[in-house]
């Protein structure tokens, strides 16, 4: 008979394939469907929870409610047409999706990107990371209950700060969310005059307000009660599940693609990788807060030294069909705010080779959700909501 571990002892791996027939026959098990329409699931996601009283015994997650068949679409559209579609996958950090996609196509076609374009991409990636983590912070505070930070105050404040970054993106690209600013071989939009001043103003404003949020949330006693020791994902479990990003680093594994396998211009600057050892919700939050600060530092270092030179390796092509893919396989990965976002592409498909034959998105959010059946048993339902918020899944990217 499987014993229910208490929350404090829930450090061990639960068995996700637990046969409920072997569970205590005296227990009055209840099935609770958390989702698919539930504010704490950050989209449409269903968790089937088997409860013994308030304690979770077994978890069966269901994904796919947002499945749009992006990978099938990739086989029908040409490579150039795909870039704006990838903005919608991880709709909280669209820049990263575009970057991983164009990097995979550049590897496939053997295109070398000029330094100025790589530099601007680095800058956009770091600004996007700040925006994405700010949205996570606000949503996480909401998940933990409105009482923290005075109702939805922190949520609204984080959205206000994220707005500053969306404004500088709008100045650059003309769009607030779905930018379509990357091209195969370079960038589409050049940095406008006076942009650096606006970026400085935005990140200065965010930096001065960060300590305020930490007083609101991170040092709040209720918050510490809700997150310390809850939902421990240790480094070994993370690696087995293929989890990367802040969740892996919070479990004590020092791994970050920006530093360890540099792409763009990350080999020219020093990235200080934040880690924690506890692996619980509190550690994941601390790692993300440190990453916001690190990104602010990187943006400050990058913004004033944008090198001169061309922004693209070649002229923009006139028709989508002009792109002819080399046959072969290519893979490119970026460190998105949620972990390793990789694109595996096989070239030479329809439209006379202008479409990929097969394209697979290795989405960090799908891997991170795989941890729930292992860590949730032993916790209460309210803890499940806290854990789900702390791993920061984006459903558009999970289901694709």
């Amino acid at each position: 008979m499987e014993m229910i571990p208490h929350v404090a002892k829930a450090r061990r791996r639960a068995n996700p394939y637990l046969d409920l027939g072997s569970y205590d026959p005296e227990a009055d098990l209840m099935v609770l469907n958390l989702g698919p329409q539930h504010p704490s699931t950050h989209g449409v996601f269903r968790l089937k929870l088997y409860l013994d009283g308030e304690i979770i015994v077994k978890v069966v997650p269901f994904v796919g409610y947002l499945h749009r068949g992006v990978e099938k679409l990739c086989e029908k559209l040409t490579m150039v047409q795909l870039i704006p579609i990838f903005d919608k996958n991880d709709y909280v950090s669209p820049m990263m999706n575009e970057q991983s996609l164009v990097m995979a196509f550049e590897a496939l076609l053997g295109i070398e990107v000029p330094r100025r374009a790589r530099y601007v991409r680095t800058l956009l990636a770091e600004l996007q990371r700040i925006a994405s983590h700010l949205l996570w912070l606000g949503a996480f505070a909401m998940d933990l209950g409105g009482a923290l930070g005075g109702g939805s105050t922190l949520f609204m404040y984080c959205f206000r700060e994220r707005e500053l970054i969306l404004d500088v993106f709008e100045d650059l690209t003309g769009c607030r969310f779905h930018y379509n600013t990357h091209m195969i071989g370079g960038n589409r939009h050049d940095v406008p005059a006076g942009w650096a001043t606006k970026v400085h103003a935005a990140i200065n404003a965010i930096e001065t307000r960060l300590p305020e949020y930490e007083t609101f949330l991170i040092t709040n006693d209720i918050y510490i009660e809700r997150t310390r020791g809850v939902g421990v994902v240790d480094g070994q479990l993370s690696m087995d599940l293929g989890i990367t990003g802040p969740v892996l680093r919070a479990g004590g594994v020092d791994h970050d693609l920006r530093r360890d396998a540099p792409y763009h211009c990350y080999d020219e600057i020093e990235v200080r990788v934040a880690t924690a050892t506890a692996g619980d919700c509190e550690a994941r939050a601390a790692v993300r807060m440190a990453e916001i600060r690190e990104s602010i530092r990187l943006v400050r270092e990058l913004i004033d030294n944008i090198p001169e030179g061309p922004l693209g390796a070649r002229k923009p092509i006139k028709t989508p069909l002009a792109e002819k893919a080399a046959k072969g396989h290519a893979y490119a990965a970026v460190e998105s705010p949620r972990g390793e976002l990789g694109i595996y592409v096989i070239g030479g498909g329809d439209n006379k080779g202008a479409s990929p034959y097969r394209l697979k998105i290795r989405s960090p959010s799908l891997h991170v959700l795989g941890c729930l059946p292992y860590i949730l048993p032993g916790h209460s339902v309210s803890d499940a909501v806290a854990v789900l918020g702390s791993v920061d899944p984006i459903m558009g990217e999970v289901d694709r």
Binding site: K76, D240, G242, I243, R259, K327, A330, Y344, Y374
Partner: protein, 163 residues
């Protein structure tokens, strides 16, 4: 015989060719390893070469060629990737090639993350994984007909609205 943008390290390439008799795929991509030695390779890479982060499983469907003189038939090629940890991280990749009705031993005993990835590839491409503990569809509903990422599945295939 390589994955563009993420080549195997020299020692892994040597291991694949010398010990696992990996073959070149004429269509490109990572080296092809025999299905029977696939699990052994993953275990060796994880335990001896420290490729400990689970990467990806990608299956691609290849219909039978129009003039099939050699009797190649309908194939599914599955690429695997594992990642090493920390500074100078590398990707170790290999391919497995099976007939369309064949099966591949599952990686779930070695990497828990293979569970959902293999379910997704089964769901969308229709490749079977031997010994998988929970072989259900992942993205589509249980009663879905066919596998959408097969090349013979038309993109405008009619779907009943209540699915």
């Amino acid at each position: 015989m390589k994955l563009l943008g993420a080549e195997n390290s020299e020692e892994v390439q040597k291991l694949l060719i010398e010990q696992f008799e990996a073959m070149e795929n004429s269509l490109g991509g990572p080296p092809v390893v025999a299905v029977v030695r696939h699990l052994e390779l993953a275990k060796k890479l994880r335990d001896e070469y420290q490729y400990r982060i689970f990467g990806f499983v990608v299956a691609a469907h290849y219909p039978a060629p129009a003039k099939d003189a050699n009797g190649v038939g309908e194939l599914i090629r599955v690429s695997y990737g594992l990642r090493s940890v920390g500074k100078g991280t590398k990707l170790a990749t290999w391919q497995v090639c099976i007939p369309v009705d064949g099966a591949i031993p599952t990686l779930v005993p070695l990497f828990a993350g293979a569970d959902w990835q293999e379910r997704e590839q089964f769901d969308l491409v229709g490749v079977r994984f031997d010994g998988h503990p929970d072989p259900r569809r992942l993205m589509l509903s249980e009663d879905w007909q066919g596998h959408p990422l097969r090349k013979d599945y038309a993109i405008d295939t009619k779907v009943h609205p209540w699915r």
